[in-house]
C-alpha cells in the first residue's frame, strides 16, 4: 500500500511473471545498475528497496520478489497484501510467457487492491531477432486491461528506470490506506545485551503506560 507522509510515499511493489522472464534482472538493473548474463533462479533475494524522486514527492519502493514461489503457482496471499503496484513481466521471445503474463494479471485482479498500479513489461527487448510477441499485441492487451505497457531490457537498461518512474508518477497521492498499518517487529541491539536485561521481570512496568 502506498502510504503518504510529507510528500514521501512508501509503496510495496510486487513482481509477477514466468520463471526466466527476467523479474530479478529488472530489479537488479533498477536497484543496483547491474546485469548478469546468467542470472540464476531467484534464491536468496526477496526484498529490495529504491527511492525515486518524482515531480512533487519521493517514492520509496519496497520491492518484493517471488522467492521462486511462483514456479509451481504457490505464491502466498501475503505476497499480494497491500501491494500498491505490480510489474507483470514477460519475455518478448516467448509467446508462452506472454500467455502466462495474462494469467498473472487475472490473478492480481482477483487478489489485489483495485487501485493498484499495474505495469506490463515486455522484457528482453534487446533480443529483437528472436521476438515472438509484437509490441502492438501487448499494447492492445494492456490498454484493454488498464495496465500501462513498456518493452524493457534489463541487459541494456532500456526503459528500466522509466517503467519504475512511470509507476511512481501514477501512484495515487493522497490515497486513503485501505488496510491498517501495524508494527513490524524489529530486533535492535539498542543498549547491548546486558542493558536489555532490564526488560526482564517487572522493572519496566513503571514507565510502560506513559509511552
Amino acid at each position: 500500500m502506498a502510504t503518504n507522509g510529507h510528500n514521501n510515499l512508501n509503496a510495496k511493489l510486487v513482481l509477477l511473471g514466468d520463471m526466466g522472464a527476467g523479474k530479478s534482472s529488472l530489479v537488479l538493473r533498477f536497484v543496483k545498475g547491474q546485469f548478469l548474463e546468467f542470472q540464476e533462479s531467484t534464491i536468496g533475494a526477496a526484498f529490495f528497496s529504491q527511492t525515486l524522486a518524482v515531480n512533487d514527492a519521493t517514492v520509496k519502493f519496497e520491492i518484493w520478489d517471488t522467492a521462486g514461489q511462483e514456479r509451481y503457482h504457490s505464491l502466498a496471499p501475503m505476497y499480494y497484501r497491500g501491494a500498491a503496484a505490480a510489474i507483470i513481466v514477460y519475455d518478448i521471445t516467448s509467446a508462452d510467457s506472454f500467455t502466462r503474463a495474462k494469467k498473472w494479471v487475472q490473478e492480481l485482479q482477483k487478489q489485489g487492491n483495485p487501485n493498484m498500479v499495474m505495469a506490463l513489461a515486455g522484457n528482453k527487448a534487446d533480443l529483437e531477432e528472436k521476438r515472438k510477441v509484437t509490441a502492438d499485441e501487448a499494447r492492445v492487451y494492456a490498454d484493454e486491461n488498464g495496465l500501462f505497457f513498456m518493452e524493457t531490457s534489463a541487459k541494456t537498461a532500456a526503459n528500466v528506470n522509466d517503467i519504475f518512474h512511470e509507476i511512481a508518477k501514477r501512484l495515487p497521492r493522497a490515497q486513503p490506506t485501505q488496510n491498517p498499518a501495524g508494527m513490524v517487529l524489529v530486533d535492535r541491539p539498542a543498549e547491548g545485551a546486558r542493558a536489555a536485561s532490564c526488560s526482564y521481570g517487572f522493572q519496566n512496568l513503571g514507565t510502560l503506560y506513559s509511552v
Binding site: S49, A67, G68, E107, V184, L185, S199, G206, L208, Y209
Partner: protein
Amino acid sequence: MADPEPYPPIDPTNFDLIVIGTGLPESIIAAAASTAGKSVLHLDPNPHYGSHFSSLTLQDLVSYLNIQSINPQKSNTEASDRTIALDVTTRPIYSDIEICSYDNSVKDHSRKFNLDLAGPRVLFCADLAVDLLLRSSANQYVEFKNIDASYVCDENGDLMNVPDSKSAVFKDRTLKYSEKNQLNSFFKLVQGHLEAVKSVDIGSDDGKMISEEDLESPFVVFLDKMKLPPKIKSIILYAIAMVDYDQDAGESCKDILRTRDGIDRLALYHSSVGRFPNALGALIYPIYGQGELPQAFCRRAAVKGCLYVLRMPVISVLLNKDSGNYNGVKLVSGQEITSNKLVINPSFTITSSPSEPLQDVYKVFNVGTVTGKLARGICITKSSLKPDASSCLVIYPPRSLYPEQATSIRVLQLSSNLAVCPSGMFVFYISVVCDDALEGKKSLHAAIDNLFSRHTSSPTDSGSTDQTESAKVKPTLLWSALYIQDLIEGLMGPAVMTPTPDGNLNYNDLLHATSKLFQKLYPDDEFFPKTSYTDSSDQFEDDSEVGVESYISSRLGGTGDGGDTVDVHHGVWTASMWL
C-alpha cells in the same frame, strides 16, 4: 492461479527433506532446514498455506472444516519392484461441526474474512514465536497490532479489567485499596525473586529467593500462602498465567501448575509488557490473521531455496523393499520423489495396504495418537463487547460460568482494524480444553450466552434468560461455527510427525516441540543460527544477497509511513527460553 497442468512434474526429484503440510510447525522446520542448507521440497494438498493454522475466508473455512472431518476413501497404490508403498490418507481432525447463520450479510462478505482455524491465538511480545520471527528474519513479512485489553469474568459473571502491571493496578477502579497493595507486594516479591535468580547466575545471592520448597509446591498453594484474595488469585492464575484446569480442584485437577512454572509464566507476561516501546500491552496479533505466520516462514524458506508446491497430494510413502527404510513419496501425479527425511503433518496417516501386511513397518510409522480434544468456536457480530476496546481477550476461569465448568474458556475479540473481517464487524474466537465433544460444546455455549444475545429472527429458540439482562446490550450473534478439534502431539519416527494446534493462547509449547523435532531430525544443525539476531543489519543483508545497504538503513529508520517500527531489547528471558 489456474494451472493448465494440474499436477506439473517436479524437478529435481531428489531432496534432503520432503515436508508435507504447511502448518506452522512444518513451515518452521522447512525454513530452519533450508537455512541450514538442506534442499527441501514443501508440499501441501490444499490450495492455501497454513494447514490447520490457516486463516481462511468464511466459505473456505466452512468447506475446510467439512473436508477435514470426512473419512476419506482409501487409495490403493502400486509400488515398483524396489519399493513398498504405504498409503497416505487424510485423517479427520475436526468433528461435531455446527455452523449457524442468523444474518446473510455475513456470508455476502465471505471474502473479506480471514478466519483463524486455530483461534483464539495471540503472541506475547516476549514469547518464542516473536523470538523465532526475529531469529529467522521472517519478522519483515508480518505486521502486528496490540490487543487493547484483557478481561476476566468474576464470580458475579461480570467482566473486570485485568490489571497486568503496576500502573494498571494503580489505575484500576474495581480493586480495593487493600487488594491493590496485596497485588503490588506480590509482584514485588516475584520481581525480587527473579532478580535474585539472575544474580545467582552471576555468583551473588541476596537471599530474596522464593524457597525451593515453595517453587515445587502448587502455585495455587503459594498464592494462598501469600494471602491473596480469590479475585486476585483468579487473575494471576487464569488471566496472566493462562492456566487451563481448575487449580482449586485439588487432587482431581488434571494439570497442577507448580510455583516455579507459574512464576515463569508471570515473567513471560511481564517481560512482554513493554518489550516493544510502542506496544502498550503484552499481547499482539498479526494483521490479516494468524495464517500469516506459516506464510512468513514459508517465504523465508523459499528465500533460502525451499521449493513450494501447493495443490499437490501425496498418495504414498515409499520404503526400500530390502531395508524397510524410508525412501521417498509418490505424488498424485504418479511421480516419485526421493528424500532422506520426511516431515508430515498429523492430518495424514500412513498405513500399509491390505495386500502387504507389514506389521513391523506399521508400528514404526506410528501415526500419532489423539491425546485430547479442544472445543473451538468462531462468532461474528456487528458490535464490540466493550465500546473502548476494538480487540480484547476475555477469560472465563473454571466455575465462573457454571458449577461444573472444569477448564478456563478463553475468548479473543478482533476487529476490522486487523483486516480479519469487513469494517463494522467483529470476530470472536473461543476455545476450551475438554474431555469430550459434549462437555466442550457446553462450555462454548455457556460463553456464547454470556457474551452475546441471539439474533431476534433466530431460527433457534432465543434464550429467554438473556432478555432479563438486555440492559447490558450484548452484541448480537450473526454467525457462528463451533467444532471439536483433536489434539495430536508431534513425534519422531522414520517420518517426523508435527503437532496439531494446541489449546494455548500462544505458540510456546508448539514451538518448543517443533525445535525439538528439528534437533532430532538434524542433530548437527542449529535451529536458526543466532547470528542475525544480534545484528539487525546482517539480518537484512542476509535476506537480499546483493546487499542494498541504503535500503536497510532507510527501512530501519523509516518513520512517517504509518507503520511503526518497534524496537525490541534482546532480553535474558527470551534467550534463556531456548536452553
